[in-house]
Symmetry: C2
């Protein structure tokens, strides 16, 4: 079922581009060691033990290109399970380019995006969910996204899927036994017991589908809009939230992650503020709930922050239907608490979904952040169960769920075992698609082409 | 003479920041292996042989931070000549930061800029010129700059300085012998022979000083200005030159060097066009030779391209004195060759420093590029001798030259050997400053603080 592996030796820069002290170039394939040996001066690399490091020179004719360290890995004990070589060279763009050129001249070819990971998958180092988790791991920039990716890289999803598979296979074999003896009208499998098994499975799958909400929020971020009348303090609130984030992003020099404009990280979830240009520029514009554009903005969001003015506004006049009809989580925020009018405060104290703040005085901003997380309705207890963050997996789990519901309904209607077994086989097939046991070239190309070269 | 080394173990990210498949974290210092061992699960790294690679996990309590490869190096067989460790981890900003944090918790400290190279220098792995060449090597993005840096990293300057030193020491010992027997008025050293030796040395130093012109141009680029009357075609010429460069900069995906705006690379030398904003915007402005601003521009340049209009201009009226008085290399370029007026062509054919082109039709642009290189008067035969590209070395060689001239003049005037020996000692001291045998903390701080963290 798996595609046949091309046996060429591939090469790519594996460390990040840009200025650094050291860069790392990776070779993988049967001839890796022979190929590096042709341009390496110092010793005969083909005679070295695996997992050893060798100092020497990369030369082009008599010209020294660089002083390097070469690490030797031998199949199957390497990332790709092929012979592999890692070259640690000085981080100069000229040197990197030159060394890759020389390796290509000696018979390597430039790796396609994700090709190292693809080879590792095809050679059985891990399944497809683990290969996909590598890309997530590299992209992860918060503890939660890291933990989810690491759990899946270490086989979190695979393990879950194996449990499902074993239960479905047991289930199917019970039914198949029945089929073998069908003429004798024997019922080996207790239908109620079967229904219980499927109920348990669908419950677990529901947990996984619910977990995707967290997984996806962690991976893609949560789009938030701030809406409200002019001068209610939208841009002040935005700046208070963003400035705190700016102050936090730093830590160890040389490892600072990029500050992403208009995004804040609350308990590991990235909230992306949508259409902030509008908020920053909107000083003169009439902009309030009720205008079409505002509705368009709100529809794009996964969370709405609806700002009211405690000083000049009149809370009694609020028409919340416009928001509640959208069926998107929202928070009613009374701003300018420092100069609030008493009637407005009274109104707010009656409203559970609301919060009083002063963006200007940085008052209750922490409470707002906690409420933002709470409003997402995400089960943050991610450590207790497998979290999927991959839309491909989510789509397949939806289909598995449908198959199992089909099974359940057929069981209840006493439909023949033959049909039920066929539904179970469909569900098993879907499980195989997630782990990559059942796959196509197109699917693999689609997955790995999203990786970078060198991965 | 050398500063005492602090014995802490240092840590830093050594590969480039940013997104990549793999990142490399470096530890150096006596306790490197013990420190990594405390957070590494898989095997006991303190019991492993040097130059070996080990797969395992970095853990914080029970949480897996990453699957990594750890390379072990033992003093003195490492870059810094100390115990060292290289950790190859996934290229995620979260993982990098976390691993460095954990290593710091276990007793490492974050490395200062250039501290790995500084330790290598202090521990005698190489001299100061070689340490400086590492920064040049990493920054080099053309073949020439790479070759110059690599030659110096491999001891090109050091070797030359040793030759000078040996000759000066021989020379001094001849004179000192004379001093020992001074009461007897014996002259052991033939003064003419001594003069010849110094002449030879100053000749070699002159070659080195001249070579700095190339070294510096290669390292810093050559500032060029394009001047000429409005509508003479300045921006067309600029675009023709820059567009060719844009098309060339590429090669191997993943290794592409940055395209630097308004800079072109001709035979390994970067020409930087100065004040191009003026050229692009100057459509309406009256701008021509004679205006103060243009002179200011020209004074900043190392090469002037003076454009004349072969169609509408009148070459007879050119007053070249304004340019020749600046004493900066220049090229007179007749543009719009495709629509040229015959008299103008005649004039140009008589002028050796000129060239006819059509920027619009891309005519003779290659000839122009060749002429630009030629006009710099650089001896490009860089392979035959040591090239310095470091202003610190240049300044010291100037001083050595002065000392030797002093020696020469004293020899000719039959000044006592005592004084001459003292001048020679001064020159020897300067040589020691270049290689770092004679140095101060301030000088080292100054040199290495310009390195990045991780180098």
């Amino acid at each position: 079922m798996l595609p046949k592996l091309e046996l060429n030796t591939i090469v790519a820069l594996a460390s990040a581009q840009g200025s650094g002290a050291i860069s790392l170039i990776r070779l993988s394939g049967k001839d890796s060691i022979e190929i590096i040996n042709k341009i390496f001066k110092g010793k005969d690399l083909t005679k070295q033990k695996p997992n050893t490091i060798h100092f020497g020179f990369i030369k082009e004719e008599n010209e020294v290109i660089d002083e390097v360290l070469v690490s030797i890995f031998k199949a199957p004990n390497s990332f790709t399970k092929e012979n592999s070589v890692e070259i640690t060279c000085h981080g100069s763009s000229y040197i990197i380019q030159k060394i890759i050129e020389l390796l290509i001249k000696q018979g390597a070819r430039l790796a396609a995006p994700g090709e190292f990971t693809k080879r590792a998958f095809i050679n059985g180092r891990f399944d497809l969910t683990q290969a996909e988790a590598i890309a997530d791991l590299i992209a992860s920039d918060t503890q939660i996204s890291h933990n989810i990716a690491m759990n899946n890289l270490r086989g979190g999803i695979s393990k879950k899927i194996n449990e499902f598979r074993n239960q479905l296979i047991n289930f199917a074999s019970l039914l198949e036994l029945e089929l073998d003896f069908s003429e004798e009208d024997v019922e080996f499998a207790d239908r109620n017991q079967l229904i219980n098994i499927i109920n348990e499975l669908t419950k677990e799958i529901k947990t996984i589908l619910d977990g995707f909400k967290l997984g996806n929020a962690v991976k893609k971020g949560v789009p938030v809009v701030i809406v409200g009348k002019p001068n209610v303090g939208k841009s002040t609130l935005l700046n208070v939230l963003l400035n705190e984030e700016r102050a936090i992003v730093s830590d160890i020099p040389g490892t600072t992650r990029d500050f992403i404009e208009d995004q804040i990280n609350i308990e590991g979830i990235n909230f992306r503020f949508v259409d902030t240009a509008g908020i920053r520029k909107a000083k003169d514009k009439i902009e309030a709930i009720g205008i079409d554009r505002t509705f368009e903005k709100m529809k794009k969001a996964s969370l709405i922050l609806y700002l009211l003015d405690l000083e000049n506004g009149n809370a009694q006049n609020i028409n919340l239907e416009q928001i509640t009809n959208l069926n998107i989580p929202y928070i009613i925020i009374g701003n300018k608490l420092d100069k609030a009018n008493v009637d407005n405060i009274k109104y707010f104290n009656k409203n559970k979904d609301s919060l009083l703040i002063s963006a200007y005085k940085n008052q209750n901003i922490d409470k707002l952040k906690k409420l933002m997380i709470k409003k997402l309705g995400i089960n943050q207890n991610y450590e207790s169960h497998t979290i999927i963050s991959n839309a491909r997996h989510y789509d397949i789990f939806i289909k598995i769920n449908q198959s199992l519901n089909e099974v359940l309904s057929n069981l209840k209607q006493n439909i023949t075992s033959e049909l039920i077994v066929s539904d179970i086989r469909i569900a098993l097939n879907y499980l195989g698609e997630i782990t990559g046991e059942i796959t196509t070239d197109d699917l693999l190309d689609n997955i790995f082409s999203k990786f970078c070269i060198g991965k």
